[in-house]
Subunit: 278 residues, 2 copies
C-alpha cells in the first residue's frame, strides 16, 4: 500500500493502472477511520481491481463556528485499517495541495441542500460538492463509495454526478452501528461516557420511526413521535427531525415508499446524525 | 464527420478513440460558426488526433432579459464549416439532453466573475462554468480551445480547470477580426448596416488603448481615452471599459504587463465585446 501526498503522484499511479485496463474504486474520507469506513473499503475491494482511499479533512465544508480544528486525526491508525482492508493507495494531501491561496471556484446545488443539514450548515454541501469534484477529477475512479449514514450527502453526490455528467458510479452502503445501535461516526469520540449513553436516543428514535412507518403513513405523526422520544433524553437537543423524499430531499407528507426519516441531534456540544429509509 | 445528439453516443465514440491511444481536442461553441470558431478548430486539428465540436446554445448562461430566443442558429452551415475544418464529431444536444427537469447543480466562481461582463450579466458565468464542466465530463478532451475574444470567459475557464483539478489543457487562441477590424462574433448578425459601421468604434478604442499603453502606464488615463473615443460614436453606449489583470480579472492601476483592456459596448440594442492584452 502506497501513501502519497501530491496530486501528481495519484494521477501517475492511476494512469498506470488504467493503461493496464484495471478498474479503480474510491472511498473519500476525512480520516479517523472506523468500521463504517471499513465497510465502504470492503465493498470497493470486492468490485474493483484497485482501491484508493482519500484522507483529507476538508476545511471548505466546515462553517466558521464548527469543529475543523478539533476534528480527530490519526493517520497511523487509519493506514493500518486501510492496509487490513487491502487498499492499494492512500491519498493524504495537505490543505495547500488542494486549495491555492487564490482558489475561488466551487460546485454547489439548490433544492437538495436547502433542508436538513443544509439549513444548519449553510456552507457544508458547497464544500462537500467542491472537494468531491476535485477528488473525482484527481483519482478518476470508476466507482465511488459513500455511507448511507450521511444520507443527504449521498443524495447530493448522486445528483451532482448525474447533473454534471460525471462518468462515475456512486455506490451507497448501509449504516454501520455499534453493538448498542449508535451509528459509527468519527465524532462519537467527542462524547463523554454519560453522553455516549444518551446518544443511544438517536437510534431508538430511528427504530421507533421505522416501526411506526410500517402502518402509519402520516409523516407528521411519525416525526412527532420521534421528536417526543428524543426529548425524553435530557442531554439531547434536537436540530431537526424530518421526513423527506430520499432522492430529492424534499419534505413529504405521506410515507409511501422511497422516503428517509432523518435527524440531527446535539448530545451536549456534539452534533450527531442518523436516518433510516422507509 | 459524425453529428450526434446524445451523450451516450459521444461517450461511446470517444472511448473507442481513447482505447486506440488517440488524443481528443474539443471546441465548445454555441453554433452560428464563423472564422473565429474556425481558427479554434484549425488549432485543435493540428494538435490532436480527433476533434470534437459541441454546438449548444446553453440556456443557463443567458439572463432572463437576454437574447436566448433570438440567438442565431444554422446547423447546416455550421456542419459545412466543421467538415471543411476536418472535424471528426459534432455534438449537438437538445436542451432536454443536457438539463433534466429537476437539474439543480452548478459550478461557479467568486472574484474573477465579479467585474466586467459578470457585473452586467450576473448569471452568465455560472451558466458557462456549469455547461463547460458538463461538456468536459461528456467529451473528456485532452485539450480544449477558447477564443481570447471572450477574454473573461477564457480566464474563468482556466481558473476553473486549475481549481477543480480537471485534467485538461486549455488553449487560448487570438481574436479573429473582419478586414475592417470588427471582432468576429455571432452577434454581429444583429447589426443594421448603419450599426455595423458604428461597431468599428470598439476596435478603434482597443487599438488606441494598446498604442497608449506602450508608453502610458496609468490605467485610468488609458481607460478614459478609450471611453472618450467610444463616446464620439453616437450609436455607441458603454457598458464598461476596464483595465484588469489578465489572470485574476481584478482592476489594475498600472499597466505593467499581463493586463487586459476590456470593453462591452451596446451598438443600438446589440451588446458587443472586445479586448486586447497589454
Amino acid at each position: 500500500m502506497k501513501i502519497v501526498k501530491t496530486i501528481n503522484e495519484v494521477r501517475k499511479q492511476v494512469k498506470e493502472w488504467k493503461s493496464l485496463g484495471q478498474s479503480v474504486g474510491m472511498v473519500p474520507t476525512m480520516g479517523y477511520l472506523h468500521e463504517g469506513h471499513k465497510s465502504l473499503m470492503d465493498c470497493a475491494r470486492k468490485e474493483n481491481d484497485k482501491v484508493v482511499v482519500s484522507i483529507f479533512v476538508n476545511p471548505m465544508q466546515f462553517g466558521p463556528t464548527e469543529d475543523l480544528a478539533e476534528y480527530p486525526r490519526d493517520l497511523e491508525h487509519d493506514a493500518e485499517i486501510c492496509e487490513s482492508a487491502g487498499v492499494d493507495l492512500i491519498f493524504h494531501p495537505e490543505p495547500e495541495e488542494m486549495y491555492a491561496d487564490d482558489f475561488c471556484s466551487f460546485v454547489d446545488m439548490d433544492t437538495l441542500t436547502e433542508g436538513l443539514c443544509g439549513r444548519t450548515r449553510p456552507v457544508h454541501f458547497r464544500g462537500v460538492c467542491t472537494v468531491v469534484t476535485k477528488l473525482f477529477n484527481i483519482v478518476t475512479p470508476d466507482r465511488a463509495y459513500f455511507g448511507q449514514k450521511d444520507g443527504q450527502q449521498l443524495a447530493v453526490i448522486r445528483r451532482m454526478v448525474r447533473d454534471l455528467n460525471m462518468d462515475i458510479q456512486i455506490v451507497g452502503c448501509p449504516i454501520v452501528r455499534e453493538e448498542d445501535g449508535l451509528a459509527k461516526s468519527s465524532r462519537n469520540t467527542y462524547l463523554s461516557p454519560e453522553e455516549r449513553k444518551a446518544a443511544l436516543i438517536l437510534n431508538q428514535a430511528v427504530r421507533l420511526g421505522a416501526e411506526m412507518a410500517e402502518t402509519e403513513k402520516d409523516a407528521a405523526k411519525v416525526v412527532l413521535a420521534m421528536k417526543e422520544k428524543i426529548q425524553s433524553e435530557p442531554l439531547a437537543r434536537i436540530d431537526y427531525v424530518e421526513a423527506v423524499d430520499a432522492l430529492s430531499m424534499q419534505p413529504v407528507e405521506r410515507l409511501t415508499g422511497g422516503c428517509m426519516l432523518a435527524m440531527a441531534v446535539y448530545i451536549g456540544k456534539t452534533r450527531l446524525i442518523d436516518n433510516v429509509l422507509v
